[in-house]
């Protein structure tokens, strides 16, 4: 069933990239009104203000672009996180980053700072970055961050911030009402302005992830071996954490906490491309993009008038897929 494993990695990467392109086009063409490839092409290249053009350009294109960018971010973040903690369970949700963003959004709702999607983005970005910084500082006390220390520190910070969030939400019904729609995770209603806000963080994050790829290969041999081979373990971890923080912050800020996406793409990509990070990181990004675009599309198609949020689809459709992937072979990290 995984014929991809028998083709070389460049070919596999091209196949995954093709899947992203196909998902992108399908996301523009399908919805409550079905448009042909001709209509989509017309809308993108020579729009003249027809109904189809408006649907594609102002409704479907923005959310699809958001899904593409955020899918790449969260996919790469997942792969990096699994590598750095050497823990197959690592994902933004158990790393404190999503929890930090959630707390900031809830606080913003509480004091009335957050009213539009745009202001949620800034709150979530700040919260996510502060949480990442806290996890990084706490995990590198003493002799530096160990994989187990890192994973547990992330889980502890996430639990603490989550407790504060639920305390606030429980004492104030209005905040809960806003929070539950953010927490479900969705790309609906996000436009190019949101992409513009998070893109700088995403780009720096991707850059750092690429730089970190080779060092992460060395780290996977164990911290002592990596240090013996001349790697500055402390710096490699710092760069990795910074990349994870920026990418997750961008993702969570734009779409809410869709932590499972990182977990899913990390494992799927590892399954197809193996453990070498130069391949794994781009592959995880592309897998994440394809998964999020498709999840949004499915949510739109099955939901009818009230669509099902991408975060929900990703959990319910993505989880069986994930189970299928991890069942096949033991996970080597």
């Amino acid at each position: 069933m995984w014929a991809v494993r028998r083709v070389s990695r460049p070919v596999a990467l091209i196949l995954v990239a093709t899947a992203v392109v196909l998902a992108f086009v399908a996301s523009l063409a399908l919805g409550s009104r079905w448009l042909g490839p001709g209509a989509v092409g017309h809308a993108l290249l020579s729009p003249d203000g027809s109904d189809a053009d408006v649907i594609v350009r102002s409704l479907r294109l923005p959310r699809t672009v958001v899904a593409l960018v955020i899918g790449v971010c969260l996919g790469i973040a997942g792969a990096l996180m699994q590598g750095h903690t050497r823990n197959a369970l690592a994902e933004p949700g158990i790393f404190g980053v999503s929890a930090g963003a959630a707390l900031a959004v809830v606080l913003g709702l509480q004091v009335g700072l957050v009213e539009t999607v745009g202001s949620t983005v800034w709150c979530a970005l700040i919260g996510a970055l502060v949480a990442t910084f806290a996890v990084q500082r706490l995990a590198s006390r003493g002799s530096g961050a160990t994989p187990v220390g890192l994973a547990l520190t992330g889980a502890a910070v996430a639990a603490m911030l989550g407790a504060l969030t639920s305390a606030i939400v429980l004492l104030d019904a209005n905040t809960l009402d806003g929070y539950r729609f953010w927490a479900v995770g969705s790309v609906a209603g996000r436009g190019f302005d949101v992409v513009g806000q998070v893109l700088p963080f995403a780009l720096v994050g991707v850059l750092l992830a690429v730089v970190n790829a080779r060092d992460l290969d060395l780290l996977s041999l164990g911290d002592d071996v990596a240090a013996g081979l001349g790697l500055s373990v402390r710096r490699a971890r710092l760069v990795g954490l910074l990349a994870i923080g920026l990418l997750t912050a961008a993702g969570v800020a734009a779409c809410g906490p869709i932590g499972f996406l990182g977990l899913l793409s990390g494992h799927v990509a590892r399954r197809i491309f193996g453990a070498r990070n130069a391949w794994l990181i781009p592959a995880a990004g592309l897998t994440g993009a394809a998964a999020l675009i498709l999840a949004d599309l499915v949510g739109r198609l099955v939901g009818g008038a009230g669509e099902v949020q991408a975060g929900v689809v990703l959990g319910i459709v993505g989880a069986p897929l994930f189970v299928l992937v991890v069942r096949r072979r033991a996970v080597a990290l």
């Binding site: 823990n87 197959a88 369970l89 690592a90 158990i94 706490l138 995990a139 006390r141 003493g142 002799s143 530096g144 160990t146 187990v148 220390g149 994973a151 547990l152 520190t153 889980a155 502890a156 910070v157 639990a159 603490m160 989550g162 407790a163 504060l164 639920s166 305390a167 939400v169 429980l170 004492l171 019904a173 809960l176 009402d177 539950r180 729609f181 927490a183 479900v184 995770g185 499972f260 977990l263 494992h267 099902v308 949020q309 975060g311 929900v312 689809v313 990703l314 959990g315 319910i316 993505g318 989880a319 069986p320 994930f322 189970v323 991890v326 069942r327 033991a330 996970v331």
Partner: protein
């Protein structure tokens, strides 16, 4: 041969277990004495042993004791569940919070709250008293059953796969919860959120007794597997060369761990973080290479009782207002810094 078949019990773990147990009992007594009517400790003790006037006995035994007992018992159940899962999977992040038990229970319970809800935040008597805990137990067990069936391949249960498949099932259940919260009325969503945080408010004996039964039966069962757990820490190959039937033992202990967690969730909601933090803290304090079961159990009881004491009285003491927090908020907010402190100390020591 006896040297390999007997588990060496470190005195340190026994002393710690005893200390935690004593502390838990003392805090439970303090908890029984506090409330709208403050009772002196000697009156509480007299009421517990059948003395005192009938009014005091009513307050202590019928009103306050169920809550305190539920707290002690779910603390033990979650902590032991976490200790077993972490040992079986050799992963410190494994806990019933993460591998699907609590998520399955939550999805079922939130389903009852939202779908059977009247929109006014109330569900009718029978559905709430019986339906909610029952749904939680069934949801938790169903999730585990799915995880278990998917993890068995050619009769072998692979530990790392159990955990990962559990995470997948948990993700599906969690999305269901998020979706139910969104489609529900805001009052129902509020009720669901309160249940999800884990709370000991208004517990009755019908909450405490099922957890009590589960703990009485399953804690000794888990402790009987001490030698096997000791061997599993060293890896599957070593364990099976020591004569441990790895797959069978793992499946048995998995069942024990998930039944404990499912019963505890039915009793008090998915109290966050207890199952993750209690084994890690016990292991670090006892300086063992796996979470010591009895020490972890007593620490869990102590932890939940202390957290509930703070949850009930903390906001009044701080003069914020007459609110009670759900106990789950406190377990995470208080447990996390302590775990961070222990990790930090360990890293400095290296």
């Amino acid at each position: 041969m006896t040297a390999t078949t007997e588990v060496a019990v470190k005195p340190r773990t026994v002393v710690l277990a005893a200390a935690f147990a004593v502390a838990a009992v003392v805090l439970a007594l303090v908890s029984l004495s506090l409330g709208t009517t403050k009772l002196p400790l000697d009156e509480v003790l007299r009421a517990l042993f059948g003395g005192g006037d009938s009014g005091t006995r009513l307050i202590v035994i019928e009103l306050r004791m169920p809550r305190v007992a539920t707290g002690l018992l779910v603390g033990i159940a979650f902590a032991v569940s976490g200790a077993l899962l972490q040992t079986l999977s050799r992963n410190p992040l494994a806990s019933p919070d993460i591998i699907g038990v609590n998520s399955g229970a939550s999805a079922a319970a939130v389903g009852v709250i939202v779908l059977a809800g009247t929109g006014g935040g109330n569900i009718s008597g029978a559905a709430e008293r019986i339906g909610l805990p029952l749904a939680a137990v069934l949801g938790g067990l169903l999730a585990t059953l799915i995880v278990g069936l998917l993890s068995i391949q050619r009769g072998v249960v692979d530990a790392s796969k159990v955990v990962l498949i559990g995470v997948g099932v948990a993700a599906a259940a969690n999305s269901l919860v998020a979706w139910l919260l969104v489609i529900g009325d805001v009052t129902d969503a509020g009720r669901a959120a309160a249940w999800l945080a884990g709370s000991l408010n208004a517990r009755t004996w019908s909450d405490a007794v099922p957890v009590g039964l589960a703990v009485t039966v399953l804690l000794p069962v888990a402790m009987m597997f001490g030698r096997e757990l000791e061997a599993l820490v060293l890896g599957d190959d070593v364990a099976s060369s020591l004569g441990v039937r790895v797959s069978r033992v793992r499946l048995a202990l998995l069942v024990v761990a998930t039944v404990l967690a499912a019963m505890a969730t039915a009793g008090a909601g998915p109290i966050t973080f207890v199952a993750l933090v209690a084994p890690q803290v016990a292991q670090r304090l006892a300086r063992t290479d796996r979470p010591p079961l009895l020490t972890t159990a007593m620490l869990g009881a102590l932890f939940v009782t202390l957290a509930d004491l703070i949850a009930r009285n903390g906001l009044q003491v701080l003069q914020v207002g007459p609110y009670e927090l759900p106990v789950g908020v406190v377990t995470a907010a208080a447990g996390a810094p302590y775990l961070l402190h222990l990790i930090g100390r360990q890293q400095k020591g290296r």
